[in-house]
Symmetry: D2
Subunit: 308 residues, 4 copies
């Protein structure tokens, strides 16, 4: 296990899970994808997040992926493992496995079938953090989970020695800026945003980085954006932000459903020859028509198509 | 496996899962609870539903509960098993286990992390039903799952030979009555309501019964209500409905959170000496103060307190 | 003003507002529509509700409609007037006008821009009811208003001598049945449902009737359904309910948007030669294609087309 | 009427509406408030927005306020007038009045009772903009209005010569950044954020300013923040942002309800001797206990208390 410098900072991509089918990892794809991102300069890797389709995967696949990812990374960067689950026992078991494999930390969004109240969240995460073998990052994801971590709940949970930070995927920057403000006396507590459209402003105003799905495809772009924001180079930030927004408003908007982002990222990786684009149920990969659109956009963005 | 007469009708309680702790079944409690309900005249048993806290349980506990329930029931009534999951592979594996144990059917709400579009639901359930070893009941549960089965989606899925019915827990009777109407040419397709407050009107207007949580505690009451509605005995229906509503507006309204219903049912069963009231994380059982209120209400309702 | 027998019962259609354009009433249409419904046996008339597009109308049109409706009705049945507004002063002014015109009562959904908390609702409605010259019916309409009247709030407000009942358009029958239960010791407090799909079960289980949009088109059908339910004639209820559901699942489902119901009702009335089908902004009336579908359905339902 | 330089930029406070009671303007308060803000360097004034409680005011009060505000401002800065309404006729009439009084532009959120679809929004705003005597700013306010302007809808409406910009109060910066990106070829189209917590990042990344409620109290702070962001002075931005967040996380969080922000702003202005703190129904001003908390926070923030 890598010792991580606190707070955790930078670009920590939520890795997509390369799959052959619902029950088979694309192991070669995992290796190519990890190396592609490390070559791009990423600061950490987050396996089994939303972009990783974690909830759609069998436990067997989840365990395999954690082991394989940690082995490939081999200590070069910290690996974070998503243990979000509706069953606390399954979360703990996966965390134990992650620790054995050498992961640096775990990440957990609230149980997402029942909707716990804030006091119930505090009790749940205290029980979880007490038992975890690794530091815990909270994951705020209201669109998928139905509840948020209210700022005061984050403050309370941050007192636990095992709670190391929070990733916010709400897109609500009033919320995120409130966290930055109320946590500013705990500079080792990491505050990261999920959406890549927000990494620049997050870092400019005192946050620590981005868990950005697009960094699966274009890791250098997000790393460069992070560095420019850290250096307060606004001119460069705006140039790079324009590229990020071009990707966001084109590549992720193909297809009709909420699954457009995930399918767009996987299809791009397939076209670039990195991994399979199979999407776990309940989703399906893009068909030829959408794939052609993704290809056209990638070419316009300057990506190399190896698997047309 | 019991051969079930179609459509499935009557009172099919969603059994609570008696637990010692997060990782240990209260096996004696399971047996007492099953016998209590069968003695009350129930027409079927639904294990691993929402009231059964299925998503909060480890897979190990889920598998044990299915095996134990089927063994205790021993063919006297059909056992339905909830296979709701975010991973289709885990749903299928649990269904295989249910079939081996002698369950009559399985029940599935949509994957509840990602929110599939209607077309994605149709594809998902077609793939699932094709592979299932048992008949499938759809489970509409928008408050927990975020998506509904639109009536036209139900109609489409009902063409699959393995799709046998739907349980609706939306509380929206415009929706339910629409299903009754568009399915009236398929009289073998079972349409059941979840909330016990709606069983009477469901049956009076052509639906088939209720998957009612309160039947864990007072199985005879709901069976009697079902029979009165089936016989169109409105005077009797209103008397029984008043008792159902008295339970609903008192026993399920203790405590501050959305978990009041579940905690109220489990606490009642504990007071009646039937099973443990441990609630799986992220919830906790009622403390002394709330337990005293439950006891007071149960006594007013005429229940016998064996474990004060 | 008609003295209304309490509780208010039966079929009280939410009258559509016949319009020539956004600023001109179709006065002849109003007269024909009112007479059509009174001939159909309705028990009261509700002007300026949701189906009446009240919020979309200028105050001038609202005042005209109240005056005209009361004049045409001329005491034959009670007229209820919607005073729902975001400004309490405008609500009160309209209520004064309604009283002067001879209306029997007013109806109010909560202020619908800001979302008041329950305690704020209690204070708001106490202030309103104190000042109103007519009895007040609460209007529960969460889809449009964002807040509900919690059962305990209804109970509290029902203590006010000027609060006479509640119309529920939530479609949530657990909610409605809870109101029926907690108000059963106040038999003069009227509990009505909005959706026509629910009038049967409402009346069978102790509610008082329906504020049903479809009664603009087919008043006899809903009156007959109400009478059958009141008489506990379940066989007849089911026959009529099937016709109600046929209307609900066909005539109200044309077009792509949430406005399908309103447009379907207005288009039907236009085809039947009763009034104009102009819909106030932000909506538009059906075009030829949708109109043809409405006509086809109406003919199948046996309605006479006078204005093809 | 002031000729406004395009795009409209800077700090344009949504003015609170000083009231004696529901039907009486605090005219002296309006004058003191306008002068307080102009002295603080604001770039424009927005009357009758959400912070102005516009929907809660009678039309009479709305008309008076527009006239009075324009008279006091007297061309020193542009005055924008909120015409958000559920009735297009009332919106147009108020816009005519605003034009006569010398307002520079009008602002409109979508009709907020019925929820229009995107195509219906396009038709509605085209009809409105065609008839308006002043330029129109769109107002995105999903929490109160239920619908958003999708980016493509904004793009389409921006083609209308009378549509000049958009104020976004969604707090969703993925959304706002998407607008900045897709509108970057129309540099005269103004893109402003509502929440003051977001003005810094808005301006740093290419947006044009903030319609910030807190600027009623501390206009210089928000003007200074705007200027620092415009100058890309990140060190200064962070200092000022910390003050903005301190206000946001303390002064606006008193009391239990969603109305805390509005009550906190009005109470602050009352304590500072600027205007009355009466809040229009359905809200009420803070009582002594909350007022004491506001005073304590204001003193900590260095504000002068003139009316303790």
């Amino acid at each position: 296990m890598t010792t991580t410098q606190l707070p955790l900072r930078g670009i920590i991509p939520p890795m997509v899970t390369p799959l052959i089918d619902n029950d088979t990892l694309d192991k070669v794809g995992v290796e190519r994808l990890v190396e592609h991102m490390i070559a791009g300069g990423i600061h950490g890797l987050f396996a089994l997040g939303t972009t990783g389709e974690a909830p759609s995967l069998s436990y067997d696949i989840r365990y395999q992926l954690v082991e394989l990812s940690c082995k490939i990374v081999n200590g070069r960067i910290p690996v974070l493992v998503g243990i979000t689950d509706t069953s606390i026992s399954e979360s703990l078991a996966l965390a134990e496995h992650a620790a054995r494999c050498g992961a640096a930390a775990v990440v957990s969004a609230p149980p997402y079938y029942f909707a716990p109240a804030q006091q119930e969240l505090i009790e749940y995460y205290t029980e979880l953090a007490d038992a975890l073998p690794l530091p815990l990052y909270l994951y705020n994801m209201p669109s998928h989970v139905k509840v948020i971590f209210e700022p005061q709940t984050v403050r309370t949970l941050s007192e636990h020695p095992n709670v190391a930070g929070l990733k916010d995927s709400s897109s609500n920057m009033v919320y995120f800026n409130s966290l930055v403000h109320i946590m500013h006396d705990k500079p080792e507590f990491s505050l990261l945003v999920g959406p890549e459209e927000l990494t620049a402003e997050c870092v400019l105003l005192g946050g620590h980085g981005g868990v950005n799905g697009g960094a699966n495809i274009f890791p250098e772009l997000y790393v460069e954006l992070y560095n420019a924001a850290l250096a307060c180079d606004i001119v460069r930030v705006r140039e790079l932000q324009a590229r990020v927004m071009e990707i966001s408003t084109t590549l992720y908007k193909i297809g009709k459903y909420g699954s457009s982002f995930l399918k767009g990222v996987k299809c791009s990786l397939s076209l670039m020859g990195i991994c399979s684009d199979f999407a776990a149920a309940p989703f399906r990969k893009f068909r030829a028509e959408e794939r052609a659109k993704v290809r056209e956009i990638l070419e316009r963005l300057g990506a190399e198509i190896k698997n047309p």
